[in-house]
């Protein structure tokens, strides 16, 4: 195959994702993005100019060797491309779908300076899907260390830590409180963005490779961290944030006011959209007015879910402007295409209800942008007297999560900060308690799948070093 010159590579336009039609998809829960064809993937791979010091790798929280896997893809060696991808990323089919690439690998892509970045995420997804459908896991069986590690929580942090530890030869047991493995990938992110079969296939691959999974097991209550340390040489805590914040405004007890966690768990994990075939119900939003408060990915997931459940009016109410929305660009684009209404510069101040305790309306305070705050974003400030009442049947609060207290309350010598996040050494993810490591949202507060996976990898590395020299803990 003749080598294509860089200037010709740069002339190829970025390949757009094939998507399910916007009108059609609001009536189903099937995945919106349909994936590249092989031809599209090979052609997109040709756009990568193979930088000597690839900024994309440095921009990736788990340091996927992006140019290397893309190069193999370009030459048609999909098996090798998959092997390279899997070396650094335990869950590529997940990351190819939910990573905020525009803030990571694609943000720093050399091509992005003058035109559009290489579609790293779409290529990752293509290779991972090929591996699942046609490929074979070829990683050689590692030499067994004879050491056992317990992982608490089966979300992205835990699964990524488990994958790496397994490759290092350690025996891994993952404990999960819910009845399904995957954490937020199963209960939080909806089917139309991340099909559950994809998550389960990634989990199955880990199970086949030797990871032991235990469901319905709440560490702290069913068994404590101290008890785990009697049976395991090290423990990694990756339980996520998982204690939803509410707005703390009057009327939050009304029927129809949900946390996004509850709403999404009912629909995703418990399949409430199949009620009464499945036993778990969710608020009947068909033909109703639904507002989601917040502007992150979870808010987009919740509002697009209510749209699919038949809401007549589904809106995002956000106190800043579109520019400050923390959600992935693609999610906002998809939401708009699906007819989601965005009400910016509005903050809820009160919910009012009917006599029977059901939600009737929300009153919002209109805002304007003032001076930049600590995050560098211009702070929204109330416009005096500018209040508006919006009729509402359901309200979904998606403003983030605090830390779950179960582990910290039952592990007294595990140090946490004033918000309950576990304190760790940032390089090694070591906690204040010997043998216990932690990472993901329980350390950082609510963040992304890939940052949690990055933390899981860092911890795996440090756990491996600790298992070799357990006398050292500083």
């Amino acid at each position: 195959m003749s080598e294509l010159p860089i200037k010709d590579r740069m002339k190829i336009p970025r390949h757009h994702m094939i998507e399910q039609d916007a009108k059609q998809r609001t009536a189903n829960f099937k995945e919106v993005n349909l994936g590249y064809t092989k031809e599209m993937a090979l052609a997109e791979a040709m756009r990568c100019i193979q930088c000597k010091n690839p900024p994309c790798v440095a921009g990736c929280p788990v340091f996927v060797k992006i140019p290397e896997f893309i190069r193999k893809l370009e030459t048609g060696d999909l098996a090798e491309a998959a092997t390279i991808l899997k070396m650094d990323n335990t869950l590529p089919a997940v990351c190819g779908r939910v990573c905020p690439q525009e803030e990571q690998c694609e943000r720093v892509c050399t091509l992005g300076k003058k035109g559009e970045a290489v579609a790293v995420g779409y290529l990752e997804r293509f290779v991972a899907d090929w591996l699942r459908d046609y490929g074979k896991e070829t990683a050689p069986a590692p030499v067994k260390s004879g050491k056992k590690v317990a992982i608490v929580g089966s979300g992205p942090a835990g699964l990524s830590c488990a994958g790496d530890l397994l490759r290092m030869g350690h025996a891994v047991t993952v404990f999960e409180a819910l009845h399904e493995i995957g954490g937020v990938l199963m209960y939080g992110i909806p089917e139309f963005r991340l099909p559950k079969a994809i998550v389960q296939a990634e989990v199955e691959a880990l199970r086949k490779a030797g990871v032991e999974f235990v469901t319905d097991y709440v560490i702290g209550l069913t068994e404590t961290v101290d008890e785990l340390l009697q049976k395991f040489a090290a423990v990694f805590v990756g339980v996520g944030a998982g204690l939803p914040y509410f707005l703390n405004i009057p009327g939050e007890q009304l029927v129809g006011v949900y946390s996004a966690n509850e709403f999404l768990t009912r629909v995703n994990l418990m399949k409430a959209y199949e009620f009464p075939k499945c036993d778990t119900p969710v608020f009947e939003v068909k033909g109703k007015q639904v507002a989601v408060f917040g502007g992150g990915n979870t808010a987009m997931d919740a509002v697009r879910t209510s749209c699919r459940l038949g809401a007549a009016r589904a809106m995002i109410i956000y106190r800043r402007t579109e520019k400050e929305l923390p959600a992935r660009i693609e999610e906002v684009k998809h939401a708009k295409e699906e007819g989601i209404e965005f009400i910016f510069l509005a903050a809820p101040v009160e919910f009012t209800g009917h006599d029977n305790g059901w939600l009737k309306s929300v009153t919002v305070q209109k805002m304007e942008l003032g001076e930049p705050d600590a995050s560098g974003r211009r702070k929204p400030v109330p416009i005096p007297g500018a209040l508006e009442t919006i009729p509402l049947d359901a309200a979904i609060i998606a403003i983030g999560n605090g830390s779950n207290p179960i582990i910290s309350k039952t592990t007294p010598d595990l140090k946490v900060n004033k918000w309950g996040n576990i304190l760790v050494d940032e390089k090694s993810m070591k906690s204040s308690k010997k043998g216990v490591f932690a990472g993901g949202d329980i350390v950082t507060g609510g963040a992304t799948v890939i940052l949690a996976m990055g933390a899981g990898r860092k911890a795996a590395q440090a756990i491996d070093e600790y298992l070799k020299k357990p006398e050292i803990w500083s």
């Binding site: 949900y258 966690n261 418990m270 009620f275 036993d279 608020f283 179960i406």
Partner: protein, 288 residues
Amino acid sequence: MNKIIEARNLAPDVKLFKIAAPQIANKRQAGQFVILRVHKEGERIPLTIADSNVQDGSITIIVQGIGKTTKYMNTLQAGDSIMDVVGPLGKPSHIACFGTVVVIGGGVGTAIAFPTAKALKQAGNHVVSIIGGRTKQLVILEEELRAVSDEVYPTTDDGSYGYQGMVTHKLQDLIKAGRKLDFVLAIGPIPMMAAVSEVTKQHHIKTTVSLNPIMVDGTGMCGGCRAVVDGKTVFVCVDGPEFDAHQVDYASLAKRNRSYLLQEKTAVEEFCKLDAMIKEKEYVRTAH
């Protein structure tokens, strides 16, 4: 999968199950609960652990068939299995030697009150149990409570057994008789707990109730079980289930517990139709 070791009816629509769950049996303390899911399309429901046995690795739960899941559960027999059982969840009851304590159980609330009554007795209290039901058949666990109480007063609304009247009336009688009561635990339907709370508040008797909101995960993740206590939002699954009775907003809890009334009705109707169909088929089969 958790195997059912024993299943027996305590009253119409009320069934006791001993379920194999050795790790939960090891760990549980009075006042804690489990969440269970009966099959793969099932919902997650919270049920208080009524008792446990470390020797045979079992926990006991008592189920009243009201919704689809509990009605389905009550068709299960020893030898059947429950798909998921997770726990022990929630904070254990606060157990101390208060002096004279009154344990009040209304309906299946008696099953929830029983383990705490037992623990209070072990802590050296003089335990007075008042257990109520609409009618005689619905007064449950009397024998079990007698074993852990110094006095037991069954009450029935219709007077078919024991004291005629509500549990609150019996409590008021004790107070009127000049008994010094140091602590009251009340568990049952929300109106009953609110009524007991009203009585004890007037007499300044420290009182605890165990709340029963709708839950999904039971570990603090969904916030569906939130209630208002002392003007603040609490998550019953991790902050409770027991709270100071005099601080609970019962009205909002009662309204929230009715969130899915319509869907529950649909589910029960579907289930009853199916159940009747199965029974008819069985009848036809055995008749031939």
